[in-house]
Amino acid sequence: MNTESKPIFKLRKRSDTEKLIDKSFKGLALIMANSVALILFAIFLVIFSGSTESMARYGLQFITTSDWNPVLDNYGAFTAIYGTITTSILSLLIAVPLGVGSAIFITEDFVPIKIRNLVSNLIELLAAIPSVVLGLWAIFIMEPFLRPFFLFLNKFLGWLPIFGSEPIGPGIAPAIIILAIMILPIITSISRDSLNQVPQNLRLAAYGVGATRWTTIFIVILPAAISGIIGGILLALGRAMGETMAVTMIIGNSNNFSWSLLAPGNTISALLANQFGEADGSQVSSLMYAGFILMILTLLVNIFAQWLVKKIRLKY
């Protein structure tokens, strides 16, 4: 018997280097996390300070007037704001049912897993096409192909202001379609992942009380996955609002305002891309102001979506 008060087992000592690495990793993570916030803040600050001149000059009138005239040095961004909002919202309206629908198809066992994986991979490949290539395709293939449909809309629904002008080629409507194609992979893959994460237990529970497949999908599975799906839709909306290249190529870059979706228009990002190169003086400030509005728009959409997710999410 050992009666001495000796420790029963010896604790291994960690070396100082090991402790130092632990500590510095913590610091490193902290720096990384903060630098993201810092960069965001810096961008915000720079854009805000760049746009103060224009803000002081036009105030809120900048948002409501549509006259963008660098020659007379008079700027109003309504055309671009209208274009940004209509293209992004309407492209979402097209892409969300398509994307969520394909995600449901991929996650349910309607067809063998091999075919589902193929579909899933094809949709992700869509994201790999450079936007400039998509823009080119939109100009030469898609828009001429869709022209008869746009003509039809104008002929029969022309009394609606949004179809009130004859399609002449580039315009808001083809931009909406190309945006829908571009954001489809984001919506599909994120929706697919969130649907896959719904616990199998929930699905069994629904089937167990005698639910059909449709009831199970719409009343149980989709609500359980909705926060992820909305997250994906938001990312897609962000992309749609900010997408520049393909939109610039197909939207027509016209600053003459028209309610019609068939007429050429502009978006904030297309406006910036087109004019920054040659801009100077108060035009730069006005472009900064437009960029600032774009940031605010995205921020508002984010806040709204987070509120929405909180409202409708099912709590586990």
Binding site: Y207, G208, G210
Partner: protein, 263 residues
């Protein structure tokens, strides 16, 4: 085929396969109406598979095939004109893990009833179902809170209430207490004693004391290694009154299992 009025579920030469390998082979079993029947046996002997075949839950597993006939009151549940959704409405199921919907307690009960076309007084049905499942006292003041806010045992009784609310004829229970503490287990067993007055109950359990406590009839399954393969095939060893199975089993394998000598 002779159809016995007292038989609820009848297996006639049923074999179930997952992909290539056999899970259950040549099962003949008549489960009586209005009683609690326990399925016991070592892990991997196909008890749960057999249970799930009764309400066609195996349909949801890719590659699962069944041969032979499963009769419910003389009707072949696997004949082409049978809709599995209707089968599951008549034959409810309580799962191993409590799985309430992430909705309110009220909605958990109402959901199943509503999709089954229940048009009566929903408040009343919710109250009755929760009372039958012996969870009303704990839930009555928080019907609008999430079903997931309850404790594990309460969740499981909520799931039982949810099953009752669809007004089934048979209730299947797949190890309903294996994720619960002894007190919750006892409460659920008490609930089962109440329920067997109205429903036929079939329960899979690993707990032999539980089988003794709750069941009238017990079926003992065993699994044997298939020649050459790694998989085991389940088969029925003995089916009799629970009392006889546990006091005077006819088969040596049953005797070994209930005395804890293997499995």
């Amino acid at each position: 085929m002779s159809y016995n009025m007292n038989t609820c579920i009848s297996f006639e030469n049923v074999s179930i396969k997952y992909g290539g390998f056999d899970a259950v082979r040549n099962l003949y079993l008549d489960i009586p109406k209005g009683k609690v029947t326990a399925l016991i046996g070592p892990s991997g002997c196909g008890k749960s598979t057999v249970l799930r075949s009764i309400n066609r839950m195996n349909d949801l597993i890719v590659g699962c095939t069944i041969t032979g006939r499963v009769l419910y009151e003389g009707i072949d549940l696997y004949s082409p004109e049978i809709d599995p959704v209707e089968v599951r409405r008549m034959i409810g199921m309580v799962f191993q893990q409590p799985n309430p919907f992430p909705k309110s307690i009220y909605e958990n009960i109402a959901f199943g009833a509503r999709i089954n076309g229940y048009t009566g007084n929903m408040d009343q049905l919710v109250e009755e179902s929760l009372k039958k499942a012996a969870v009303w006292e704990e839930c009555k003041d928080k019907l609008n809170e999430s079903g997931c806010s309850l404790s594990g045992g309460q969740q499981q009784r909520l799931c039982i209430a949810r099953t009752i609310a669809t007004q089934p004829d048979v209730i299947l229970m797949d190890e309903p207490c294996s994720a619960l503490d002894p007190i919750s287990t006892l409460k659920i067993e008490e609930t089962m004693h109440e329920l067997k007055k109205e429903y036929t109950i079939i329960i899979v359990t690993h707990n032999m004391q539980q089988a003794v406590r709750v069941s009238d009839m017990t079926a003992f399954y065993n699994a044997e290694a298939k020649g050459g393969g790694t998989g085991k095939v389940g088969y029925l060893v003995e089916f009799n009154d629970t009392e006889k199975i546990f006091n005077s089993p006819k088969q040596q394998a049953t005797k070994d299992y209930i005395s804890g000598r293997f499995g």
